[in-house]
């Protein structure tokens, strides 16, 4: 199936000379949830802004639903709902009018039933006649989402939807995203909470310094993350690894007091029992042992770190 969004060699250099995007290519499949992970200033917002029409790309192309965002911008943008990172909302207007306004901007005919459905799904229905400025921060963020959903988009961009949001609202937001996905909406969210990407995404992209470092199915990524490490602390420093333990591929730390053994926790046999028996056989005394599983966070930090080293 053709991707719903296709980004090719997208670059953006701002007037000051800052290169926010350095040639990003990415296909986003219809109906998936893609999480773009990256530190602050990585280029996540610029990427979204370029796709949504807030920023003019320096070079490269983007198509949404097969429509080029420059030459067929009306058809492309009609498919997109955008929830910006900052809470930007007309303070004096009523909630329901703000949402109706968004639907009108996208050229959709009035549909009060749909507006009601959106407001109810975001628990905003009771607040519909309140002025935006009277709402709490979390409520305002919901209004922004309601605005983005008012015109029934096929693609929803959520730019750091849960930044500065309390736990309850974050959970609700996740629930909402799942529901939308159930309705077939493609969702692209940026976040720097790894937990969030792990919780929601089908695929995870890691972006830093304007480059897309990796895009991978979450399950595959988690599989790679299935690797565990057994750390053995010895009572006495070890000069070298005894030949009887050579087959295990152990590594000896610089202080010669720690041995580490990598294994796949999903595998049927981890080889741990035999290793421990052989260690005892080799006459080594253990002071302590621990296992460690690399998290998405480790992989992320490693990627970002390696990416930066490559650039340097």
């Amino acid at each position: 199936m053709a991707p719903i969004i296709s980004i090719r060699d997208l670059t953006k250099t701002y007037d000051g000379g800052f290169e926010a995007l350095k040639g990003v290519s990415l296909d986003i499949e219809d109906g998936e949830i893609l999480a773009l992970l990256g530190p602050n200033g990585a280029g996540k917002t610029t990427l979204i802004s370029a796709v949504c029409g807030l920023v003019t790309p320096t070079s490269g192309s983007v198509s949404v639903g097969g429509h080029d965002i420059q030459h067929a911008f009306r058809a492309a943008r009609a498919l997109i709902g955008l929830v910006p990172q900052e809470i930007t909302i007309e303070p004096f207007e009523k909630v329901i009018n703000t949402v109706r306004f968004s639907r009108g901007l996208f050229g959709k005919p009035t549909d009060e039933a749909h507006i009601e459905k959106v407001l109810r799904s975001l628990s905003l229905w009771d607040k519909r006649h309140s002025r935006n400025q009277e709402l709490s921060g979390g409520m305002k963020r919901r209004v922004l989402i309601a605005k983005a959903l008012s015109h029934e988009p096929r693609v929803l961009f959520l730019d750091e939807p849960t930044a500065g949001v309390d736990v309850t609202l974050r959970k609700e937001m996740w629930q909402l995203v799942r529901e939308l996905r159930g309705q077939g909406v493609t969702i692209i969210l940026t976040t720097h909470y790894i937990e969030e990407a792990e919780e929601m995404a089908d695929r995870i992209g890691v972006i830093d310094h304007g480059r897309l470092l990796l895009v991978e199915q979450k399950s595959q990524l988690l599989h790679q993350l299935g690797r565990k490490e057994l750390l053995l602390e010895l009572c006495e420093p070890l000069a070298e690894i005894p030949p009887s333990l050579a087959a295990y591929g152990l590594t000896l730390s610089e202080d010669r007091l720690h041995l580490s053994y990598a294994f796949d926790s999903h595998a049927e046999r981890t080889g741990m029992t035999r290793l421990l028996a052989d260690i005892a056989g080799a006459g080594l005394n253990l002071r302590d042992l621990s296992t460690h599983q690399s998290s998405l966070e480790d992989v992320f930090l490693k990627l970002v770190h390696d990416g930066r080293r490559d650039v340097a």
């Binding site: 701002y14 807030l54 003019t56 058809a75 910006p84 109706r100 306004f101 009108g104 605005k147």
Partner: protein, 253 residues
């Protein structure tokens, strides 16, 4: 053309107007009454007629123009500056809209509000003086063209402005002096010769002169030149707006 979007913007802007309708109307009406008291009653009592028109009536077109220009510029500049300032402009940029729809929506609403206030001032003035309108069609045409052109100018100012001070700058420093020096309260023929020629460089003179002609049939400059002047001004503003959106100047990095 995304007509629904134009309507949405227009309606949203008009809602803003009606939310603050009292303050929108009260202050122009009060200031007009003050002008009538000061210029019409106090000073006008010492001036019989200007070009055969009673002084009280003579200043009405100038007063209406003064308010119309100020209102068109400030409404339109604020209308587009505010979304830029609070950030809601993201929605206009991400919607399936071209600049034409954005401009029609904002400028249309700003011009409508300015015309409403101009009409109220015109009605208020009939409480003080007897008015006859010689060329009603041209009167409406001048009102419309002026409101639209200056709302466009205001739109440009709103895009250009980086802060609230700049937003106030043009209306205060440029529009008001030009109206006062453009023959709002006097006929150019009353000026000494040197100043008369200087006044001809003031574009607002042509507006007031033409507008006054539509009431009394007398003008400082031929009415054809007035119409041409306003059309040229309109064309300049349209070109500037077109260039702004084509390049994304100050709205789209």
């Amino acid at each position: 053309m995304n007509w629904r979007a134009i309507y949405a913007i227009y309606q949203f802007e008009m809602n803003r107007t009606f939310r603050t309708i009292a303050q929108s109307l009260v202050s122009p009406v009060i200031s007009t009454v003050l002008y009538f008291v000061v210029f019409g009653a106090a000073i006008g009592g010492r001036i019989d007629t200007v070009e055969g028109v009673g002084y009280g009536a003579f200043i009405v077109p100038g007063l209406v123009m003064l308010t119309l220009l100020q209102q068109s510029v400030t409404n339109a500049s604020f209308g587009i500056y505010f979304p830029k300032f609070i950030g809601t402009i993201y929605e206009l940029l991400s919607a399936p809209l071209s600049f034409i729809e954005i401009v029609i929506g904002y400028v249309g609403a700003a011009a409508t509000k300015a015309l409403m206030i101009a009409a109220i001032i015109l009605v208020t003035s009939t409480l003080f003086v007897d008015l006859t309108i010689a060329h009603p069609f041209w009167m409406v045409a001048f009102l419309l063209l002026t409101a639209v052109s200056f709302a466009l100018l205001g739109f440009i100012i709103g895009i250009w402005a980086k802060n609230f001070e700049q937003l106030q700058l043009i209306p205060l420093l440029v529009i008001t002096p030009l109206v006062f020096l453009g023959g709002a309260f006097y006929s150019v023929s009353m000026l000494p010769p040197g100043w008369r020629e200087v006044t001809y460089f003031n574009p607002v003179l042509y507006l007031i002169s033409g507008f006054r002609w539509s009431f009394f049939g007398v003008a400082d400059v031929p009415v054809g030149i007035s119409i041409a002047a306003i059309c040229v001004f309109l064309a300049i503003c349209l070109t500037a707006v077109w260039a702004i959106f084509r390049t994304g100047w100050r709205i789209k990095p």
